[in-house]
Amino acid sequence: MPETTKAAPARSRRTTRAANALGQGSSKGARKGSAKPADQRASAVARQASDNEARVEFYRQMLLIRRFEERTARAYTEAKIGGYCHLNLGEEATVVGLMSALRPTDYLFTNYREHGYAIAKGIEPRRVMAELYGRSTGVSKGWGGSMHMFDTEARLLGGYGIVGGQLPLATGAALAVTYTGSDDVVMVQMGEGTAAIGAFHESLNIAALWDLPVVFVIINNGLGMGTTVENSAAEPELYKRGAAYRMESARVDGTDVLAVHRAAREAVEYARENSRPFLLEATSPRLRGHSVVDPAKYRTKEEKEALKAADPLAKAQLELQDAGLLTAEDVERLEAEVAEIVAEAAAFADDSPHPDVSTLFDYTYATPVPNDVPRLPADPLFRV
């Protein structure tokens, strides 16, 4: 079976070609952005066009997300993190493969399972952890939490907790991109359950009608919470829905970081060059339950065993070791490096201040209004 499966014809319009990782493009079109460490590392890898270095860097990022999410799960059980908490465990190859295909100036919208995306898009892990801890140093200043990471500079324009809510937004962001004549691309990530909601259809239709450079990415882990994709989608091969909008689409094995990177790069550059949308489906298991508190009792023992075998991190490590690109010492070194980042992130979050109650009314309106009473629950309407 080929690593990607494709559907639908292409239309070509734009001609700009951008650099890509793994040596298949020129670096001249690459734009300089105000990148942060993870970004700088990823794009530096791209510029050097070194497959091998890129593959090791992908592994390092996957490892970072794995250890970060394990730390997140622990912090949640320690009650340092509140609310809902959805992890990227098992999706590391998909996350890193997708993010490595974006330029720093490309925009990203995600659903609520986005900690790894935030890190791979270039946000410091400590600011992500601080958001999880609800501290003022968090990416969303403690207003968003696990499901609502946002960073203007990294162009992560939000994790969104309402299933499908991010799709129309991303479509509109792509409209603004074309309106202003920029050649940035918008990527929007969603779970496979989202393919059942009206906003999915409306957004894909509008994006195709208006020739918008947006890459819709479905992360198909086969399960809503416990409802299988076969029980929620009449056409469970979701990428095929692109055809209904005359939209180019493909499906990729989301446990293979290189395959995801290549498929995503193709989708992103297609969108950029043609100012057209693309529908990409990545099949990728989640290693644990829907959220931290879900013991995943709906899974059989056999399914759980199979999940271990499909672990993308183990797979990547094995492949790199087989190819002679990674030694046991390298793994040890990377583990130590990543452990330090994660420990520092947790310490930073722990040491950061809680948002001050005096800031409660700071973000209701961007344009201040008269008569917007900063009233706490027991306050009177009028102070005579």
Binding site: Y107, F109, G138, V139, S140, K141, G142, W143, G144, H148, F150, D151, T152, L157, G158, Y160, I162, G165, L167, P168, L169, A170, T171, G172, A173, A174, L175, A176, V177, Y179, T180, G198, A199, E202, S203, N205, I206, L209, W210, D362, Y363, T364, Y365, A366, T367, V369, P370, N371, D372, V373, P380, L381, F382
Partner: protein
């Protein structure tokens, strides 16, 4: 000054704002080639082209959300929803997204957009096309809801809404589109309104009538009729439902000692309930009579003219309740016929 219609005032303001700011664009169903269901966008596609005037598919959630996303990147979309009834299809995008993005992400991105939409019954459109559900939006922090009652306010509030950095629901009314009023020929001389300020459109001393949109218009007529009966009514036109100008309401009621709220929505939990609560908290010691509300009968609005007219609040209804309130204060001794 020239006499112009509410409809023309809206159209001219949209045009002026589009000329002023390249980032202002219009989106909505049938607003371009068809020039708008109520012709507010007449001629604008011809003048500005399809980049600035975008006909959308019938997908309220999709295109309202797209406008929000475009606003996040700095455009200033003005979305037309054919009627406020159809806004319910975009409720998730308006309430869960437009209203939340600025706060939920710690003030990093604002959403400078306007949703224009008419409410109102009285056109024999039946239950699903005659509602006044502005309350749903006025309930939500993060949104602003304005409701002009006359052409000049339509200009000043539309300017303010487009230039505001927050999502604004701009409530129009089917029954107001053909109403007329004075508007300067040069629209650039009209200052943008301050969103969140009510206007006292008629000063008086005996009773306060509080309304917005169509009912603020009706309230002025009723005030005239009360004047003929020897009573001096003060009319407060809310203009903004969120934020609500509680000060102006309470100041007026402290002066007159009684109040009647005129609203086109349903009574229970309606806008008037909030006004009445505001008055009792802010002017309790000044009240000489209970606050009364004139609102739509609590039914899905029927098609048949006889039933529809009975259900909708009218000037006569408002006059009756004002007379009863004046009598309750002891200022009037006239027995009202019921």
């Amino acid at each position: 000054m020239a006499i112009t219609t509410y409809r023309q005032a809206l159209r001219d303001t949209l045009r002026a704002e589009m000329l002023r700011d390249e980032n202002v664009l219009l989106m909505g169903e049938e607003i371009g080639v068809f020039e708008g269901s109520y012709k507010i966008t007449e001629g604008l596609l011809k003048e500005f082209g399809p980049r600035r005037v975008k006909d959308t598919p019938i997908a309220e959630e999709g295109f309202v959300g797209a406008a929000i996303g475009a606003a996040m990147l700095g455009l200033r979309p003005v979305v037309e929803l054919m009627t406020i009834n159809f806004s319910l299809l975009a409720l998730d995008q308006i309430v869960n997204h437009a209203a939340k993005i600025y706060g939920m992400f710690g003030g990093q991105k604002s959403v400078p957009m306007v949703i224009r939409t008419p409410g109102g019954g009285g056109q024999q459109l039946g239950a699903t096309h005659s509602q006044n559900v502005e309350l749903y939006y006025a309930f939500v922090p993060g949104l602003k809801v304005v409701a002009p009652s006359n052409p000049l306010d339509a200009v000043a509030l539309m300017k303010a809404s487009i230039r505001d950095d927050d999502p604004v629901l701009f409530l129009e009314n089917l029954a107001l589109y053909n109403t007329k009023g004075e508007v300067p020929e040069d629209l650039s001389t009209v200052q943008p309104a301050e969103i969140g300020r009510a206007a006292v459109t008629r000063e008086g001393t005996d009773i306060t009538i509080i309304g917005y949109s169509r009912m603020a218009h009706v309230a002025r007529d009723v005030a005239e009729r009360l004047a003929a009966e020897g009573f001096s009514a003060e009319v407060v036109d809310l203009r903004s439902l969120r934020p609500l100008d509680r000060e102006t309401i309470v100041t007026s009621v402290r002066k007159t000692g009684c109040a009647v709220v005129a609203e086109d929505d349903w009574l229970t939990y309606g806008i008037g309930a909030e006004i009445a609560a505001t008055v009792q908290e802010g002017a309790f010691d000044w009240l000489d009579a209970p606050v009364r509300r004139v609102a739509m009968a609590e039914v899905p609005l029927p098609y048949a003219k006889s039933l529809e007219m009975a259900a909708l609040p009218s000037g006569d209804d408002l006059l009756t309740v004002c007379r009863e309130t004046l009598r309750a204060t002891g200022r009037s001794t006239v027995e009202t016929a019921r």
